[in-house]
Symmetry: C2
Subunit: 233 residues, 2 copies
DNA sequence: ACGCGAATACTCTGATCGGAGTATTCGTTT
DNA sequence: AAACGAATACTCCGATCAGAGTATTCGCGT
């Protein structure tokens, strides 16, 4: 009963077995052929442990085990009524309820002052070019899908990716430019800190005598009366 | 040497120790106070194993171990020069290089035809209302931050979240409406399938006699000459 | 006829994670 | 003054994961 509904691969497995009984390897090739691998992480280690766990919970049952020649056994599984219910319920939950996720970029942005401003801007601009590349390859795939008259319904997940990548690119491009121009609030302080560091001033020294090293606005921030519970850095 | 740079919590630990030496629990409260917990998953189990691994790789060193009264020991760690390098390098990589991620919604969308169209649309509309709620709470936090004159630099990660949530909401709203109106390619077929299923027609039956159950356009799709290698469903 | 790479179909193992559990102390209430 | 909850500072363990490794067979070229 522990940590059910953690790995979406289990949901994909249920989806396959609802179509017809299959053995695990067949599930993996089916998912691959249909391009689900792009949206759902698939590796063998997880596949077999997920299948075992589904079986343990009664959502699927082993139908039969056979071997062709002296190859490893192939166990075919079928979905149970409970499995169908679980599939529908789980999918409904995923669609209706946003969950907190932790994209790598969000983590990186939260530590942004750990690099110098111009360096950060450079790296973000580099990211923009890579995102543009990714977008053109996604759009090439869409053009191909259109030529094959593949219904949009079967590539919504890919449309979603495009929407998200576009949003990320626009945000990052804007951010890089705001750092360059200094219009991102706090950049002046950030820039000054790295300037001083380059001149060999230690961080303690800077904070000990803010009025000596920073302009009025920033210095005020560094020695706040703190009537709100706020804090710098 | 295995799987370094997997858990971004290790990056946050380095960031803390670059400021000054701390013991693990202090790192956790520091991250929490600064709201990094919103962007970087933090739980004790991972924290202590990540610290151990950083130490094993020579990126941090145990500085001293003491105990106050009969409480558990507190081991203070400091970052090494190699640790500073690793921090800068890793952060640079995270900023400059997009990595493939697997958001739950993308997985769910790739299995969308597993639910009936109107049900799917209903669930997506529900999601839109929840995303709107999330947005208003994020914007309330921003208004608060502005009143406290918190520089924008220290909340870029939150601005990023807002941008992504807005993009997701707009996409999902659009998708739900396209399903309702039928303007999403393939919806007619999808709708008809669930109509027939409600009437008790089995899936095999439908696909055996496409011309009997579907209109011309769809039937043509279900028995393709397949000159491209494409396949339905 | 035989060698070789690709495909088939898993198995195994060490790492990592999540989250519940533990033991102590401090501050506040009753 | 005793009791209680909150905070401190971890420890532990089962579950999960990633991905390298294994063994067999098939098809194809020479």
């Amino acid at each position: 009963m522990t940590r059910r509904r953690s790995n979406p691969l289990a949901l994909a497995v249920l989806a396959c077995l609802i179509e017809r009984p299959m053995h695990p390897y067949e599930i993996s090739t089916t998912l691959r052929e249909r391009g689900k691998e792009q949206s759902i992480k698939l590796n063998y280690g997880s596949l077999y442990s997920v299948v075992e766990s589904l079986q343990k919970h009664g959502l699927i049952v082993a139908q039969d085990t056979q071997r062709a020649g002296r190859r490893p056994e192939r166990t075919t599984y079928a979905v149970t009524p409970a499995g169908v219910d679980e599939f529908e319920d789980w999918l409904a939950e995923l669609l209706s309820t946003p969950v907190k996720e932790y994209p790598a970029l969000e983590a990186a942005l939260s530590l942004l002052p750990g690099l110098a401003p111009d360096e950060a801007a450079r790296l973000l601009e580099l990211r923009v070019t890579k995102l543009d590349l990714e977008l053109s390859s996604l759009e090439a795939m869409h053009a191909m899908a259109d030529r094959m008259a593949l219904p949009q319904l079967l590539r919504v997940e890919s449309d979603y990716r495009v929407a998200m990548v576009v949003a990320e690119r626009d945000f990052v491009r804007r951010l890089a430019s705001d750092i360059r121009s200094g219009s991102l609030g706090g950049t002046a302080f950030w820039r000054r800190m790295y300037e001083l560091r380059d001149q060999g001033v230690s961080t303690e020294e800077m904070f000990a005598k803010p009025r000596e090293y920073f302009d009025e606005e920033v210095a005020a921030w560094l020695a706040p009366k703190d009537h709100t519970g706020a804090e710098p850095s």
